[in-house]
């Protein structure tokens, strides 16, 4: 959907050396004199409508089959899995914008996702602990002072790491609006600062990917420490209990979060599709394909990269904030470097450079992954050896990734081109996994000048 739909398939032959007049009128697309109608954003990107339709049907179907709202054919835990999958689709869309469109292979996006989860988790844990503490203190003759309450909450939350003080990092945890602001602000600021430092020094390609891995590794190592103030390796737990909804059954909560995730995916998808359409999309894809050239046109490439990187980090954080209440627990292992690599694998398998490809990749691979690793897939008895999928799934995933990269660089999303008869690729050149994006190296011109 990147190249505008007025790029009809190039049916005609090429006309080497030909100038305007030599092209037969039959294949003309914008006849002389006829003013080009400005079509709306959705009309130029019909895949958005198809996507929204598919998502609506899926949501409707799940609602009808859910326990709280329908027949109950789908278990509550499966509804949660589906809701979480939608969040993963959203972070994959964000990843596709930064990688598939802008050519920045970020291998640290799950850090933003995790930070979003931590930010919402702090409020969930604090508010719920506060209720428990208040309940305990209720019977006492003298009402507890705010300090006593705060201390009691601190002891309750931090008992596991042998502390009782609420660290400064929890200063806003009592307030849902403030903590929701943190969901966006903390990852957004991290992305802004990291991106500013990296892009300003013109770190690109593999080096940038390594730097993003280092960022997410450093963050997870930091959070593993008990004195990070976020409960070390215990992480935040009990997030599935939503304060104020103690009496609401999990079945109802799960379908509500599923709807919220579907809405977030729909809104995020449309917003990001809008951001990468039109002239903005042109510049962003230009940066992916040849950033030096974009500079010589007068665009400050670093600002664009920073904009795209930060925007997609914020979307990733929102996805995380919806994911972890459904998962119930978040700990530093969630933002280990491997998580971000999986994200890139999903997008590559789904087909980068098209947002629906990212959605398909994330949904398909993550659901398949939980089926294989959850023991859903039957073991294969080879006589001399038993293939246990819990062990071998990663090997299969790795092989599929290599196969897709080598033989089907457009990924699963490329199948839609067969339906559309679209012969023009969105991009040309190398799709290699190490290059991340195809670009002419800065400072080189092919054909050595001598």
């Amino acid at each position: 959907m990147t190249s505008s739909t007025d790029t009809a398939p190039s049916s005609g032959p090429k006309y080497p050396g030909g100038s305007g007049g030599q092209r037969p009128p039959a294949v003309r697309r914008a006849p002389r004199g006829e003013p080009l109608r400005r079509r709306s954003f959705v009309a130029r990107n019909p895949s958005i409508l198809w996507f929204l339709l598919a998502l609506s049907l899926f949501t409707l179907g799940v609602t009808v089959l859910a326990e709280a709202t329908g027949t109950g054919l789908l278990s509550t835990s499966f509804i949660k899995t589906l809701g979480k999958t939608l969040c993963l689709c959203l972070v994959a869309v964000a990843m596709d914008v930064v990688w598939g469109y802008c050519g920045i292979l970020s291998l640290g996006h799950m850090a933003f996702f995790g930070l979003g989860g931590y930010a919402i988790g702090q409020w969930l844990m604090y508010a719920r602990t506060e209720q428990i503490v208040m309940g305990n203190l209720d019977g006492q003759p003298i009402p507890a002072t705010p300090q006593e309450i705060s201390d009691a909450i601190g002891t309750q939350i931090f008992g596991v790491v042998g502390a009782s003080e609420l660290p400064a990092i929890w200063a806003f945890a009592h307030s849902l609006p403030l903590q929701l602001a943190m969901v966006v602000l903390v990852p957004g600021l991290l992305a802004l600062i990291f991106g500013w430092l990296a892009f300003r020094s013109r770190v690109t390609g593999v080096y940038l990917s390594i730097l993003t891995q280092a960022m997410t590794l450093a963050l997870s190592l930091y959070l593993f420490q008990n004195d990070s103030g976020l409960r070390g390796n215990n992480g935040l737990s009990g997030l599935q209990n939503i304060p104020g909804y103690e009496n609401t059954p999990q079945a109802t909560l799960s379908i509500s979060f599923f709807w919220a995730s579907a809405a977030a995916l729909a809104i995020g998808y449309v917003a990001l599709a809008w951001a990468v359409s039109g002239k903005m999309g042109s510049v962003i894809r230009g940066i992916r394909d040849n950033e030096a050239r974009v500079r010589f046109l007068g665009y400050h490439v670093e600002s664009y990269k920073l904009f795209v990187f930060t925007l997609s980090a914020i979307v990733a954080a929102i996805a995380g904030a919806l994911y972890y209440p459904q998962a119930g627990i978040i700990n530093p292992a969630e933002i280990a470097p491997i998580a971000s690599i999986y994200l890139a694998v999903w997008v590559a398998i789904g087909g980068r450079g098209r947002l629906y490809g990212a959605v398909i990749g994330a949904a398909f691979v993550s659901l398949l992954s939980s089926w294989f690793t959850g023991g859903g897939a039957p073991d294969i008895e080879l006589g001399f050896y038993t293939v246990q999928w819990t062990d071998w799934w990663l090997v299969l995933l790795g092989l599929s990734f290599v196969a897709v990269t080598l033989f089907a660089p457009k990924g699963i999303g490329g199948l839609f081109d067969l339906i559309n008869h679209r012969v023009m690729p969105d991009r040309e050149g190398d799709y290699g996994p190490d290059t991340g994006s195809w670009r002419t190296e800065e400072g080189t011109e092919e054909e050595p000048p001598r």
Binding site: L36, R295, L297, H300, S303, E428
Partner: protein, 246 residues
């Protein structure tokens, strides 16, 4: 004619190899200037320096009435200051349509938020059509630039250059890969552009340079060997020795 660009005493060394050696060139506004010289003379490197792609080891590059130094500006700032460039190898965005290529080059605010929120609010279409007529690509606006022939890509890049509406155009070997009629057309285009702007053209084809009918600078081993009318420089014995005689 006032001086628009002043390059003085500039030197560049690549790994010990002196590609530009104490080079001084002045370009006026308006002016059409041809730069010739053997391969490796430093013509492209000269453009790299002016556009901020290569930083010189020493020397000054001053721009405009206020004589601001270009050496402290980034590539994008230099482009926004009014210097446009066509590369030796046609460099267009192959995966995007001719229209998208031109739209990206059009002179408009360049910030991310300007670009994000200003869509469809300008006269872009009519400007694009005007440019496309001028470069003979009117019927190809919706084609991906990658499908164009070599000569058409050259033209598209010239169109992108004009779309930027720069004060100084640096044009590196524009006629390569063009048929004689296309070359003629290109000369006309450049001459017309030079009526109001400064245009510097690097070209090997002597016929092409003759048609430009302008002052010629001969570069050799990174510095100016001769300067003047085409007849003047082609009569210069040193020029014949290093360039024409081979």
């Amino acid at each position: 004619m006032s001086t628009l660009l002043e390059v003085s005493g500039v030197s560049v060394t690549f790994d010990g190899f002196r590609a530009i050696n104490n080079l001084s060139i002045q370009i006026g506004e308006p002016e059409l200037r041809a730069v010739i010289g053997p391969n490796g003379a430093g013509k492209t490197t000269f453009m790299d320096i002016v556009t901020g792609k290569t930083r010189p080891d020493q020397g000054r590059v001053l721009w405009g009435e206020k004589s601001v130094s270009l050496l402290r500006m980034s590539e994008s700032e230099i482009a926004r200051a009014g210097i446009g460039r066509k590369f030796q190898k046609p460099t267009v965005f192959e995966a995007q349509t001719v229209r998208e290529n031109l739209a990206m080059a059009l002179k408009n605010p360049r910030g991310p938020f300007d670009v994000l929120f200003s869509r469809g609010l300008d006269d872009a279409d009519s400007r694009i059509h005007g440019l496309a007529d001028e470069i003979g690509l009117r019927d190809h606006l919706s084609r991906p630039a990658g499908e164009l022939s070599h000569g058409q890509k050259q033209w598209l890049e010239i169109g992108m250059l004009l779309a930027q509406d720069p004060r100084l155009l640096l044009v590196d070997e524009p006629a390569a890969g063009m048929t004689p009629t296309e070359r003629q057309h290109t000369t006309d285009l450049l001459k017309r552009a030079a009526e109001t702007r400064a245009v510097v053209v690097v070209e090997h084809d002597m016929e092409f340079v003759r048609r430009l009918n302008c002052k010629v600078t001969v570069l050799h081993e990174g510095s100016v060997l001769a300067e003047g009318s085409l007849d003047h420089v082609t009569g210069d014995q040193r020029v014949i020795d290093v360039y024409l005689g081979r």
